[in-house]
Symmetry: C2
Subunit: 300 residues, 2 copies
Amino acid sequence: MTKLVECIPNFSEGQRKEVIESLAQIISEVPGVILLDYSSDTSHNRSVFTFVGTPEGAKEAAFRAAQKAVTEIDITKHKGEHPRMGAVDVIPFVPVKGMTMHECIELSKEVAVRISNELGLPVYLYEESASKPERANLATIRKGQFEGMAAKIKTPGWEPDFGKAEIHPTAGAVAVGARMPLVAYNINLSTSDIQIANNIAKIIRESSGGLKYVKAIGVKLEDRNIAQVSINMTNYEKTPLYRVFELVRVEAQRYGTGIIGSEIIGLTPMNALIDSAKYYLQIEGFDDKKQVLENYLMQG
Amino acid sequence: MTKLVECIPNFSEGQRKEVIESLAQIISEVPGVILLDYSSDTSHNRSVFTFVGTPEGAKEAAFRAAQKAVTEIDITKHKGEHPRMGAVDVIPFVPVKGMTMHECIELSKEVAVRISNELGLPVYLYEESASKPERANLATIRKGQFEGMAAKIKTPGWEPDFGKAEIHPTAGAVAVGARMPLVAYNINLSTSDIQIANNIAKIIRESSGGLKYVKAIGVKLEDRNIAQVSINMTNYEKTPLYRVFELVRVEAQRYGTGIIGSEIIGLTPMNALIDSAKYYLQIEGFDDKKQVLENYLMQG
């Protein structure tokens, strides 16, 4: 069975179309890689690419794109709303087919070593690849952003996992790691009151004591005049979609509010949805690997 | 994108292990074909094989298996509970990847022509391939079984679609056609009263005025001492699982009974489950083709 890994590198450039296109081009040209999607946000001044590939292809594409970013993007000149610490800011790898998390962690470390050796970029391992618990969370590593990293990287306990304790003068630093697939999942409420969405977000998210593997904030959808609980699910196997959905429903009832719909943004692994179907349909003893036809069709 | 078709041929032999194994062997040996599963029932005296393959591979494997069945199985000597009209009784093809139903119908006709020409078997096209509405349903074609086919095939309106109006002396006749994937879906009730399961089955099935594309009977699960509504869903896109599940729940309430669980038997396409997740999670504007990661992984 062919092993496949997904990679979702983030770059601190969302405005210069020719740079963004050159990154897309470089990724697409690597054998064994399929560029699935890329999008840029001009106010964030950031671009996100999504590709899948064989382990060898994905490593090569991630490296070549990082190399291009180091050449083309000067982080000292970067202005944008999104927090960042490097030209290539973060490179997550996700095991998607025939690959264990352990193998994906090893793969991420190989890319990290090559980036630090050949590009002179200091690398922090994060998420599942993190060398210490406090480095699992990207936001903790990146705190202080590029402007603060020159000093932070020399602070005891914040030396990089690979490379010298010194930022790259124009490319900063990068986080590389393996993680579970993220599911971006939003739940729309039958109210326009963002305070209700904020209250519910606070109840469900891990950081304020809610469900583990859930990040959430309240947002207002101005065009539809409704409030939304905007959610990132960082491990849909351990905290499934239906559990978040039902908890939001229960908490919304306190305000006489309901759920008018939900949205999945971008890509999701099929199991994130199949798990919820199994819950609601009360399906007993179902073996995803053996009973879902598509799992055989991917054996090529 | 590689096109893939599933084929689920049924043979009137469920007892002689060497014949069953030789059929499995012949299917497995065809390039471009993966034999996923096969099972035999001795009281039915019948075996069912499931394989997927490229269009060319699937056609070849279906033909070779039919050829072997004509050589090895004498339908005049067949005794078993399952209705049958031929040594190879029915050969359904299901489009599973990169293939339209129209293409699958054409493929089924190519196999039908070859079987009739080279094996001298009369072929009835059925399901989506049927030449007349009354031939869509296998049970209608097979009515009278092998013993009645010698006369039925000469009756005006029942001439075969391919081949002479005469049964093969030892192999009878065969039905070949394209169809949607079947989902075998059972719902277990919190009662041991089979009469309740029978009443609910009658309400939900198409033949007695219920939901289109639903076949259902009540059965008793002796080992668990519960009644079950045993269902075949012949088009999960048009009548989805959640609708059947919720209708059974509503009807069970009349008897003060509930659903303790459900089961999917054998293989299901992922979309049969994803559709239900979308319903219960109230997911808006989700594009399965573009948003389910596995749909990209199957592009090879």
